[in-house]
């Protein structure tokens, strides 16, 4: 498997949303009401501090400390991943910020292009301030409590990680850290040591949650935090859809976001997890996402990656039970100075399991897009099927795209299908459309939307409309 060996250099012109704000000295507007400060850098003390503030049980503290050790002993995976990872300065990062400590800036300090994006995407006034980091809290507590009431009547538990592990350990402890063990990779270990925020959801047998549950409801500073931990357990025959993120660009002072998402779909259950990621261009977004699908269960990851400086994300499904089904639908857009390194992992561990991966990536300007896939079907299994399709669209000749599929199929009772294509939106195509009377911008928009169309329609309506608008924005001025 070929390795990427060059460093992605940080272009000078990348807008730094926190320009002028010295992160290491914490030169922000703080409330004076708090007492504790975890400081920068990651030590055992930081971990203990986090655990004590959350009033966690001993076993959980042990878990965190263990993870810390693993994190410190594991090297960066730069032998196969981009060397840009070496630019993460672990010592300068704040690993925990309590309520009210979240840095704020004034509306004037928010860069113009971010303001313009809000305008173009039609983001409501109130939300803009929150997203731009001007306010620490968004007043939708009402919306959240509403949803919480409705689903709790069905026996659904919908809480943040701290609350869930404290109030319902008997439900969550069983699967917590089992789908993604601490030592899975360096960043999973990091998350396991310092996680905070995120959603823990349990759906009882047979319950089909009608409304998609959104991270957006869980609005407080921590949920847009750096080290979210999500665990969703769907008991037999139940169904749920969970959505996180939004199309609007998210401001962050922190340069490292490392989330972990674990999904468990028991017999006959269905989980659909939708993510729209649009972190600001200074963020390293390194996420570990995996689900385990039991007999006749189904897990579907729908992923859209537009922002961040570097995203490394390979949603995976372990097809543990007979006739389980896993699917990854992914759209990635890499613009100047961005690297979207995404893919999927499908591990077949039972007969008659099927997996489907459809990945579409768009590379613009100096953007770089990488697809890494892993499909594993061992010899003793029968009747398994995989379909992988990865298509890349290049918007000008400087773009780069790499595809590294690794398909291991043994035994003649299994079938795989892999197709890959690379196409260009070339000057000629734009000229063809212009000759029909469309402006350059209209031409670009039509062809890019045409490329992602059938995938974009898999997103819930409100997202897919915003998505198209956002992509149009990103495309402006990208040819020539």
């Amino acid at each position: 498997m070929p390795e990427i060996s060059e460093t992605l250099e940080t272009p000078d012109f990348i807008e730094n949303p926190v320009a002028g704000i010295d992160q290491s000295r914490g030169d922000f507007t703080y409330d004076v009401d708090y007492e504790f400060d975890a400081g920068t850098g990651l030590t055992e003390q930081t971990v203990r501090y986090i655990s004590s503030v959350k009033k966690e049980a001993d076993w959980l503290l042990e878990f965190r400390l263990n993870a810390l050790k693993k994190f410190q002993s594991m090297p960066l995976p730069t032998h196969w991943a981009t060397k840009d990872l070496e630019n993460i300065n672990f010592d300068k990062i704040r690993y925990y910020l309590a309520q009210g400590q979240k840095p704020k800036r004034t509306w004037d300090e928010v860069p113009d292009d971010i303001k313009e994006t809000f305008e173009r995407l039609g983001i409501p006034e109130q939300e803009r301030k929150f997203l731009a980091g001007v306010e620490a809290q968004f007043d939708s507590e009402a919306a959240y409590s509403n949803i919480k009431d409705i689903v709790s009547k069905q026996g659904v538990i919908f809480a943040n990680s701290t609350e869930a592990l404290r109030e319902h350990p008997e439900i969550f402890r069983k699967f917590f850290g089992k789908v993604i063990p601490t030592g899975d990779n360096k960043f999973a270990a990091l998350n396991s040591a310092v996680f905070s925020g995120g959603s823990f959801i349990y759906v009882p047998p047979g319950v089909k949650v009608a409304q998609p549950l959104q991270a957006y409801f869980r609005i407080n500073a921590e949920n847009f935090g750096q080290f979210e931990r999500t665990l969703i357990i769907c008991d037999e025959g139940s169904e749920v859809t969970y959505m996180e993120g939004c199309t609007a660009p998210k401001f962050s002072t922190s340069t490292l976001h490392s989330a972990v998402v674990e999904l468990v779909a028991l017999k006959g259950a269905k989980i659909q997890y939708i993510t729209v990621q649009n972190w600001a261009n200074n963020v390293f977004n390194l996420v570990t996402k995996r689900g385990v699908a039991h007999e006749e269960a189904e897990i579907k990851w729908i992923d859209c990656n537009i922002g961040s400086r570097l995203t490394m994300k390979y949603p995976g499904v372990v097809l543990k039970g007979r006739k389980a089904r896993g699917e990854v639908i992914s759209i990635a857009l890499a613009n100047d100075g961005q690297h979207q390194d995404t893919g999927a992992k499908m591990i077949h561990a039972a007969d008659e399991t099927t997996s489907n991966v459809i990945s579409k990536s768009i590379s613009v300007g100096q953007g770089r897009s990488t697809y890494r896939g892993l499909v594993h079907i061992p010899k003793h299994l029968k009747g398994c099927k995989n379909n992988t399709e990865c298509d890349a669209l290049l918007i000008n000749t400087n773009s780069r795209t790499d595809t590294y599929p690794a398909i291991t199929v043994r035994g003649d009772k299994n079938a795989t299908q892999h197709e890959a294509s690379v196409s260009k939106v070339s000057e000629d195509l734009i000229f063809y459309m212009q000759q029909r009377g469309l402006t350059e911008a209209q031409a670009m928009s039509l062809s890019v939307n045409g490329f992602i169309n059938d995938l974009a329609s898999q997103f819930p309506m409100e997202y897919s409309v915003e998505l198209k608008r956002l992509i149009d924005l990103e495309m402006e001025g990208s040819v020539g």
Binding site: D412, T416, H418, V422, D428
Partner: protein, 437 residues
């Protein structure tokens, strides 16, 4: 396999026989005899393929035994019946002689169309044949066997269609071989000038299923600027036949070629096909359908070469395998640095109908231009048990179910034949094979 040059075969196809073959043709043009001599020397100089030859990877090299075959001396008495449909003209070869031939319709002859057996064409249109014969030689690994063909070829059709002439109905050629351990070396030459249009259908059949045959056949297809050529080849040699088939397709500016090859017979068959897109607007559609059963081995090697901008090619090879059959597919698309805006597609689909069947698939792309669209895909799948059960539950017996599913699998290729008669004729051939299983 020995790598010594100067291999002569112990009986049949040896230097004595070659000398006799030449002397029988003394009346033909000198250049032709020289070409044959050169080819014979080349055949002896080239080694048999070895394990190290990448172009023969996965092949059963032991099966490439040329010993013991002779040229047939008498025309076959029995000529197998073949599906009949409306056609513009036909020609039948049996054991290296013309046994049947229809006259070309007067209006086509008046326009300058030539449809003649090789020997006659060499006599009456020698310059034309010389200009196009092996103009684009084979280079996918079978050079030795192509040389053998050039050396011994005596029969084959030459079709020439002049500028602007369109022949709506297909032209049909049949090659039959009869007699145990006989060999045949048919050579087909098709030349279409600017804006011409024609369809050629060729059948290759053994008179008896019990006879062992050796065949090395070659096609030279030339599509001139703006022309449209459809070529259909149906191979149904006996199941004890060792066959080599080499197709060369040259496509000029704005020309379109569709070739469909159906493979049913043979013990071990090596089929090579090379399409060259020579000028802007050229397009080649390469299709192949194979039903492999028993211990048959079908070795398919292809090459799509794009030498000019705005060219396209589309390859679709479908193999259905039963019992312990084996197929090999190795396809390469090569795009030259100046061939911008190339659109090339290659797909090999294998349907495995039994546990012991095996299909090797090596798709490949070599792209030097930077503004191209190329995709390749390979799949291997087994029959969906659900589908099979569904058919059985309607009272359809297993072997017929297989047949139905295989037809479904083959449909996308058969659909490319606009002529419904041709479509049906091929369908009948496939059905016949299933009946015999």
């Amino acid at each position: 396999m020995s790598a010594l040059p100067n291999i002569t075969l112990s009986t049949g196809l040896n230097s004595e026989r070659f000398a006799m073959h030449l002397s029988q043709r003394a009346a033909l043009p000198d250049w032709w005899l020289e070409t044959k001599k050169t080819a014979w020397n080349q055949f002896n100089a080239l080694p048999m393929p070895t394990r190290n030859d990448e172009r023969w990877r996965f092949s059963n090299l032991k099966g490439l035994d040329l010993d013991g075959y002779v040229l047939p001396e008498e025309p076959a008495v029995h000529v197998p019946h073949l599906p009949d449909f409306e056609h513009a003209a036909e020609m039948t070869f049996s054991n290296r002689q013309v046994v049947d031939r229809s006259t070309l319709p007067a209006e086509l002859a008046a326009k300058g169309v030539i449809f003649a057996p090789l020997t006659e064409a060499l006599r009456d249109h020698g310059d034309l044949v010389r200009r196009y014969f092996q103009k684009y030689p084979a280079n996918l690994g079978s050079e030795k066997f192509v040389a053998l063909n050039t050396a011994f070829t005596a029969t084959g059709a030459v079709l020439f269609v002049p500028k602007g002439v369109e022949i709506e109905k297909p032209i049909v050629v049949q090659h039959t071989l009869a007699g145990d351990h006989k060999s045949a070396f048919p050579h087909t030459l098709v030349i279409l000038e600017d804006n011409a249009k024609a369809t050629l259908v060729e059948y290759f059949v053994s008179a008896s299923a019990q006879e062992a045959h050796l065949v090395s056949g070659v096609n030279d297809l030339h599509a001139g600027p703006g022309s449209q050529l459809t070529y259909v080849g149906v191979q149904n040699w006996s199941e004890k036949t060792l066959a080599f088939q080499t197709n060369s397709i040259a496509v000029e500016r704005d020309a379109r070629v569709l070739s469909v090859n159906l493979h049913l017979g043979g013990q071990q068959v090596r089929h090579e096909s090379h399409s060259r897109m020579l000028a802007p607007g050229a397009h080649s559609d390469m299709c192949s359908l194979t039903v492999a059963h028993g211990k048959q081995e079908f070795d398919q090697r292809t090459l799509q070469t794009h030498a000019a901008p705005h060219t396209s090619s589309n390859l679709l090879y479908k193999n259905a395998l039963i019992n312990q059959a084996h197929t090999i597919f190795s396809g390469l698309i090569v795009v030259d640095p100046d061939a911008q805006k190339t659109d090339a597609y290659q797909s090999n689909r294998n349907l495995l109908l039994s546990e012991e069947a095996s299909a090797d698939s090596l798709p490949g792309l070599e792209i030097q231009a930077n503004d191209v669209k190329c995709t390749h895909g390979a799949t291997s799948a087994t029959i969906d048990p659900e589908q099979l059960y569904y058919l059985k539950s309607r009272g359809i017996p297993a072997h017929q179910s297989y047949e139905l599913l295989v037809f479904g699998f083959f449909e996308s290729v058969l659909d490319k034949l606009i002529d419904q008669n041709l479509h049906d004729a091929l369908g009948n051939f496939i059905q016949d094979k299933f009946k015999k299983l």
